[in-house]
Amino acid sequence: MAAGTLYTYPENWRAFKAQIAAQYSGAHLKVASTAPAFTFGQTNRTPAFLNNFPLGKVPAFQGDDGFCLFESNAIAYYLSSDALRGSTPQDSAQVLQWVSFADSEIIPPASAWVFPTLGIMQFNKQATEQAKEEVKRVLTVLHQHLNTHTFLVGERVSLADISVVCSLLWLYKQVLDPSFRQPFPNVTRWFVTCINQPQFKAVLGEVKLCEKMAQFDA
């Protein structure tokens, strides 16, 4: 069973994937996210850190055996159990499909829409409108798939659900108000089922779904 330390800043949705995976697999994971263990912007710029993690990015994982890994999907995969990874070649390929889908189809429009509402990016009306359309397309694909599935792959929670839930977190907390999410009930049902699993709750705490769509924070 893998055991080690996850370096990240607090509340990092990319790190949540590994933390939730460890909850399911029982991997013993220490999280270094606050001083003195880890200070984002300082520790990850030290020669010692860069020697293990040349990109200087977080999340970064170091096993108790010294094994080092960067890239959040690789870390979550390493800390997973076989059940989370997919127990057949078809299931494990589908897990990878949804993990890739989260990174390539969800994160870019989700960030383009949410970042201005957090005041960390200039608001651009056209970019926001386009991002909203992209998010609708993503939710439509998920809604259709979840018409015939309780979870994304197989009959129980897998790394696919963990990855896609974590990539949707900011959207559901910040901008997917009841009227926007109304056409996609399968997705909200699935999302709420997942975040209410004890392993998700142990990491995410109480996730409150957005009641009023946040506008950009001038």
Partner: protein, 31 residues
């Protein structure tokens, strides 16, 4: 605090624009 950290994430905001341009290019190539 979290928002400041999030601001340092590297996101490919232009991905959709690149995907669409690449699509158009190969659709043209393939007639």
């Amino acid at each position: 605090m979290t928002a400041e950290f999030l601001a340092q994430e590297k996101i490919w905001f232009d991905k959709l624009r690149f995907d669409e341009a690449e699509c158009r290019f190969y659709e043209r190539m393939n007639g």
